[in-house]
């Protein structure tokens, strides 16, 4: 049985095809998010089907997740990112007990029990300061890509202290720091530390190890290290972190019956 998972995130749409017989991902891909979410998701889905040499009727079920999940009307059902990231990470790293997911517009801390069941979770969804949006803002202000930004962060010798907890005010602060001659790598590392600090506050006192970091932001060099410092414990980057939500959605689609809502 082949199932599909689609993670319609705020910055990109990710899709995964999962074959239950060998229990593996057989295709995955992503595309930038846009206004026409369903069309973009459908195009990505079709592209994956073509790459895998499959036709739509061969797909047993499609589950959508992510903030734009309700726009994906061709999905059979929708499930939240909490459940999907938990399933996806558990599949790839069964030992994970805490998952940190930093997305484009929110961040989450998910606690897992042995067996991968969600024990508890916390979400930051009302402030950009603990999300990838903060990095996006800085990248846009400095006219460079996320990846280039993260690369710069690795060169930091003494990360700057970003004292504002509001992204809008932090932007002004960052401009001020640069105007004062602070090295750019230090400012970038300071932004990463600020995000990590916000996420660690969200995690509170219930972080069980091992901690896995997932979501697109996990791919950026320096972020995992910043999280380690903020949490005071090792943080591992999940395998294929940008796809764990979509994988979890595909696994949910494969579950009989789906135990979503």
């Amino acid at each position: 049985m082949i199932c599909a998972g689609i993670d319609a995130g705020s910055r990109s749409i990710k899709a995964v095809l999962f074959d239950t017989a060998p229990q593996q991902m057989i295709a995955s891909g992503l595309t930038d998010q846009g206004v026409e979410q369903e069309r973009l998701a459908a195009e990505l889905f079709e592209k994956l089907l073509q790459e895998a040499g499959l036709a739509r009727p061969q797909i047993s079920a499609v589950v959508a997740t992510g903030y734009g999940r309700n726009a994906i009307r061709f999905a059979d059902t929708t499930i939240t990112e909490i459940t999907c990231h938990a399933r996806g990470v558990h599949r790839l790293a069964p030992e994970a007990r805490t998952i940190i997911e930093i997305g484009g517009q929110d961040s989450k801390v998910i606690c897992l029990e042995e067996g991968g069941r969600v024990r508890d979770f916390a979400m930051n969804d009302r402030c950009a300061a603990g999300t990838g949006r903060f990095l996006e803002m800085v990248a846009a202000r400095l006219d460079m890509t996320w990846e280039k930004l993260a690369e710069l962060g690795r060169q930091s010798k003494k990360p700057a202290l970003i004292s504002n907890i509001c992204v809008v005010f932090a932007e002004t602060e960052i401009i001020g720091l640069l105007a004062d001659g602070q090295p750019l790598p230090d400012v970038v590392a300071g932004v990463q530390n600020a995000i990590a600090t916000r996420v660690s506050a969200l995690a509170g006192r219930f972080v069980s190890q091992p901690v896995y970091f997932t979501g697109g932001v996990a791919l950026l060099p320096g972020m995992a290290r910043a999280l380690e410092e903020a949490l005071g414990c090792p943080v591992r980057v999940a395998p294929r972190p940008q796809f764990t939500g979509a994988l979890g959605a595909a696994l949910s689609a494969a579950a009989k019956p789906p135990d979503g809502v």
Partner: protein, 461 residues
């Protein structure tokens, strides 16, 4: 007149109301179709809500939403109006023990921005009076009182101070500075009796040192004298004892309603109506006798539905314990739309649901009841009660809603979540709900739905 329980929007209620009228619906003087409240009172939020379809629920909503009108009528009929601020359920018991007094809860204006979808600009007016969005939405009370466009200006304003919400104290002080005299009474922060101190048992399995109970009793005595002066009759022990017995009639009914709804295998009454019904405990929605009648109707409806095994929300729904009242009523509907149901609640006035002791001198009993207020004691005490009620209601998860700007709950939610997690190991989330939550609906829905998913996924494995 019985029909299968379900939730209706305002349009559906129009048709339902006509049907009920044809079938001989009998209503109190404040009755009528819900739509008139949207048109006349500009309660636009009603268009976004889904209501229980029973005549009992119709009566509840009409009772709630005609309070200002009923207060004006009471004033015109010669009643004295008493605004009992901050105190949640103590001073109203005293006021209703005296003839000719109507106590109401000006703080209740905090729902007005939600109901009117901010169309009367109460929050903006509050900002112009120096209280911006960093304060609790209760700040809507300030322009409502100053303008006099909602409820009548009270003949007497009473407000508790001390171990109460900082925001509210600031708002009430601003009100006083604007020329509205306030009778302040103080309530100390409740603490556990120290070794060697005489302890007094409080409702809700709590205890406080006798010195604190004595202090509150003396303060309430002063309040009682002011109320007596306003009523032209001394608030003596007999009078107060009768008032306590009457208040306990309300509390017993609420207890029966909560037990019937929260312990049922599926929900016989929706979460929104339960929130509104429980709120009646605070000040009887300005009419104690009518509160009893409204609750009797609701209880009869719930019992009838349970007998017929007819429910509004099915047994598969995740059993959610809800902490704190919501600034936007829409959130309670949302919980059920996303697969949850209420199996318990702590809307921040649990002490007003507990029976006031009838075997103690009346002022002493009221002082003990006031000191059991969850807001004047440690959060750990509140969390302990939540844990007990979660266990009793077989809660599968806890939702702690936060009120933007409300300083009394800045860290309370986090502490409650930690204690719930530690003691009973069920998931708990904290969500912020502003007076009109439309802009936040996607993220709010995600959080609630994830909670429901998590609760359900823990059932089977």
């Amino acid at each position: 007149m019985n029909s299968a329980p379900r939730q209706l929007n305002l349009d559906q209620w129009d048709a339902r109301y006509e049907q009920l009228r044809r079938d001989g619906l009998r209503e109190p003087a404040y009755g009528g179709p819900l739509r008139r409240l949207m048109v006349r009172e500009k309660d636009f939020r009603l268009q976004q809500l889904r209501f229980d379809n029973s005549p009992a629920a119709l009566r509840l909503w009409n009772f709630l939403l005609t309070e200002n009108q009923r207060l004006h009528q009471a004033r015109a009929g010669g009643h004295k109006i008493v605004g009992t601020m901050k105190d949640l359920g103590t001073v109203p018991v005293m006021a209703y023990a005296l003839p000719g007094l109507r106590a109401f809860y000006p703080d209740g204006a905090w729902w007005t921005p939600c109901l009117m979808e901010c169309s009367d600009r109460l929050l903006q007016k509050a900002e112009r009076m120096g209280l911006d969005a960093s304060f609790c939405p209760v700040r809507a009370m300030l322009p409502a009182l100053v303008d006099g466009g909602h409820f009548p200006r009270p003949d007497l304003l009473i407000c508790s101070s001390g171990a109460v919400c900082d925001d509210f104290s600031a708002i009430a002080q601003r009100l006083e500075h604007l020329g509205h005299a306030i009778l302040w009474w103080e309530i100390p922060r409740r603490r556990r009796p120290a070794s060697g101190e005489t302890a007094c048992a409080l409702p809700g399995l709590l205890a406080a040192p006798k010195i604190q109970v004595d202090c509150v009793r003396t303060e309430l005595q002063r309040v009682g004298q002011a109320l007596g002066k306003l009523a032209g009759k001394t608030l003596d022990d007999d009078c107060l004892a009768a008032g306590i017995r009457a208040a306990n009639q309300v509390r017993r009914r609420l207890d029966s309603l909560r037990r019937a709804v929260y312990s049922a295998p599926a929900a016989p009454l929706p979460a929104l109506e339960m929130l509104v019904a429980e709120m009646l405990a605070i000040h009887f929605c300005s009419d104690r006798e009518e509160t009893i009648a409204v609750l009797d109707d609701l209880l009869a409806e719930v019992q009838s539905r349970a007998r017929r095994s007819q429910f509004v929300i099915g047994a598969e729904a995740a059993r959610i314990f809800w902490v704190n009242p919501v600034a936007d009523l829409r959130a309670m509907n949302l919980l059920e739309e996303l697969g949850g149901r209420l199996c318990g609640s702590d809307f921040m006035f649990s002490h007003a649901l507990d029976l006031i002791p009838e075997d103690l001198p009346p002022l002493e009993a009221l002082a003990r009841s006031a000191l059991a207020d969850p807001m004047v004691g440690p959060t750990g005490d509140r969390a302990a009660r939540i844990v007990r009620e979660c266990q009793a209601g077989r809660a599968e998860a806890v939702a702690v809603s936060r009120i933007p700007g409300a300083s009394h709950c800045a860290r309370e939610g986090e502490i409650i979540r930690e204690i719930v997690r530690r003691e009973i190991g069920i998931p708990a989330i904290e969500i912020e709900i502003p007076p009109v939550c439309d802009a936040m609906l996607p993220s709010l829905a995600s959080g609630l739905r994830a909670l429901v998913e998590t609760a359900r996924s823990r059932r089977t494995r």
